[in-house]
């Protein structure tokens, strides 16, 4: 197990390196001069050149990349062209807001997804199954931003139960996390159903029933437990979906998180910030995938990665 973790950690280093390289060079392909933005509209040619030197943008691209990586490894993500602030300072509060949002979404998606999937499997081809699976396929097909707008209209504007946007308290996260989690909840419900149906065919389930266990015990203690591993894995692998979706949901609910920062920075062409947000999201996604792989192995002794 330890060897596997070390091997996987070594494997992701070149991926992270290539990801950072790709982001860096692609961002520098963008037409338009970021220095003009940083220097301001009324800047003279001398001022623009001075800012260019200050930002190190007068050096060859390779030197810029090496400097960028050196800074990155010491935790320096650079400065925003728009505000002039260190990017790491801008991330401080926003990162925790986005993480709270994504983990809340994942949490309720897991609970509801497992519940709907289990009910559908137990009542296979009966009306609870049809309702459950209709909900699930609808959830996958709904545009998140639309669901968010409708939830705001119903629960914030009409009923006044939740705020329409921003982040003041836990209540502010309820509607955004429901919106963001809907897609994953649906995927998990469908996956739980099929995984549980497979497990319910197994011999040990027949044995459980034969020795007179109640159906609820068979499902809860034997079948569900064994179907959980692949379901949890899928939940982890869908984390990227949540990170991408958070950009949209934060825009709909005016949440000051990383996704909103990304969209605002794209609008202003604040490329150091765009670069840093994409890099951070990608790193997070790579690490979550690694964690899922490790957990999968830890939970399921049948899987052998060494062979």
């Amino acid at each position: 197990m330890f060897r596997y973790i070390v091997k996987r950690l070594i494997e992701i280093i070149p991926i992270i390196f290539v990801v950072s390289l790709l982001i860096f060079f692609f961002i520098h392909l963008v037409p338009g001069d970021p220095v003009r933005l940083a220097a301001g509209k009324e800047a003279t040619l001398e001022e623009i050149e001075r800012v260019r030197q200050e930002l190190g943008l007068d050096k060859p691209l390779l030197t810029q990349y090496i400097n960028y990586m050196q800074n990155l490894l010491t935790g320096n993500l650079g400065h925003s062209l728009k505000t002039g602030l260190p990017i790491s300072d801008m991330f401080e509060n926003r990162f925790s807001v986005t993480m709270t949002l994504t983990f809340m979404s994942l949490g309720w998606a897991l609970v509801l997804g497992l519940l709907i999937g289990t009910i559908s499997a137990v009542f296979r081809n009966k009306w609870p199954d049809y309702v459950g699976m209709l909900t699930a396929i609808s959830g996958i097909s709904l545009p998140g931003f639309w669901l968010g707008l409708i939830l705001i209209q119903v629960f914030s504007v009409t009923l006044g139960w939740f705020p329409t946007g921003g982040v003041d308290s836990w209540k502010s996260y309820v509607l955004p996390s429901l919106t963001l989690g809907a897609g994953i909840m649906s995927m998990l419900a469908r996956f739980t159903r099929s995984s549980l149906l497979e497990t319910l065919k197994e011999d040990f389930i027949r044995t459980g029933r034969a020795k007179g266990l109640k159906e609820s015990v068979v499902v809860r203690k034997h079948a569900l437990k064994n179907s959980m591993i692949p379901v949890v894995t899928i939940a982890g692998l869908q984390f990227g979906f949540l990170l991408g979706g958070s950009v949209v949901v934060e825009t709909v609910f005016s949440i000051p998180g990383m996704g909103r920062l990304l969209i605002d920075s794209i609008a202003f062409r604040d490329y150091p910030v765009v670069q840093a947000v994409i890099l951070l999201f990608s790193l997070e996604f790579i690490l979550v995938n690694l964690l899922v792989d490790i957990l999968y192995k830890a939970l399921n002794p049948k899987i052998r990665y060494d062979s």
């Binding site: 931003f145 707008l149 950009v247």
Partner: protein
């Protein structure tokens, strides 16, 4: 004797194809939900093709006398903030949505399939190179990658097609690689090789047909994903121009009027939802018939 003669004249193949198609149609008719969803998609294609001629009003022409009207006999889906007929915009927008999603998934499928075939067939350094590249692509969450690409290329529908295609390529490459690995060990591939067939011929004439079923299933499922991604990009202001009748852009423009005229938001949302739902249902149905192994 007759059969041997037929085989000798190579007549068996079309007969088998015909019976395969018949068998598929028989199974397809039994998939009630997918069957009707398929009809709905056909209907959408007709609308997409003839949209500009079917639309009752000009989808671009403002009419300030009838702004934000609720659905009525004159305007079945109401009007937007410029007094433009929403139904006409939805009808013309069908072509945009289907065009963008189909072309992007098609590009993703073609490039991904070629890469997957090469990777699976040749193995070795080519396989390692293509798979490590797809690892890198998978390191970016889908929508985020699309946002990043549009941020670099600039907003607009063509760039949305590129962005969505790029994030579809690695998934297709992985899928086809897996199928290729399984198919290249088959006896008929061995036979073709021993008869001296070129690698390209083996890949495209012998292995590729074996991967088609799972590719069709995956293709239909990706269409829904790409419609959602493209409309999300338009909603974020990175896709279609705000004045165009793109469904995502309509939603984005209409959000300011949600409280007073909810139909401006609800109707384009339903259009996106029903279209994506139909593609997902068809994908499910196709999977059950063509690729039942992957049901889990």
């Amino acid at each position: 004797m007759e059969v041997v003669k037929e085989i000798g004249h190579n007549v068996v193949v079309p007969t088998e194809k015909k019976s395969r198609a018949r068998e598929f149609w028989k199974k397809w008719k039994k998939q009630k939900t997918a069957f009707w969803a398929g009809f709905f998609i056909l209907f959408l294609f007709v609308i997409a093709l003839f949209g500009p001629w079917i639309a009752p009003y000009d989808p671009y022409e403002p009419n300030y006398d009838v702004t934000l009207q609720t659905p009525s006999i004159e305007h079945w889906a109401g009007t937007d903030e410029y007094g433009r007929d929403i139904l006409s915009r939805i009808i013309v927008g069908t072509g945009i949505s289907l065009g963008v999603s189909f072309s992007s998934v098609l590009v993703g499928a073609v490039v991904g399939t070629i890469l997957g075939l090469i990777s699976g067939y040749y193995g070795g350094w080519m396989d390692r190179l293509i798979m490590r590249w797809s690892d890198v692509m998978f390191a970016f969450p889908d929508l985020l990658l699309a946002i990043a690409i549009v941020a670099i290329l600039g907003p607009g529908l063509t760039n949305v097609v590129v962005a969505v295609a790029v994030f579809s390529i690695p998934s297709f490459a992985r899928l086809i690689r897996g199928n290729t690995l399984a198919a290249k060990e088959a006896v008929f591939v061995e036979a073709a090789r021993s008869m001296g067939a070129k690698s390209s011929r083996i890949m495209f004439r012998h292995i590729f047909p074996e991967t088609v079923s799972s590719m069709i299933v995956f293709f239909s499922m990706r269409i829904g994903t790409s419609i959602l991604a493209a409309s999300s990009l338009s909603f974020l202001g990175l896709g279609a121009a705000p004045e165009s009748p793109d469904w995502g852009a309509m939603l984005s423009m209409g959000r300011d009027y949600l409280a007073t005229s909810p139909h401006v938001v609800i109707i384009p949302g339903i259009a996106i939802f029903l279209t994506v739902l139909a593609f997902n249902l068809v994908g499910d149905g196709l999977r059950d018939i063509l690729d039942p192994k992957t049901k889990n």
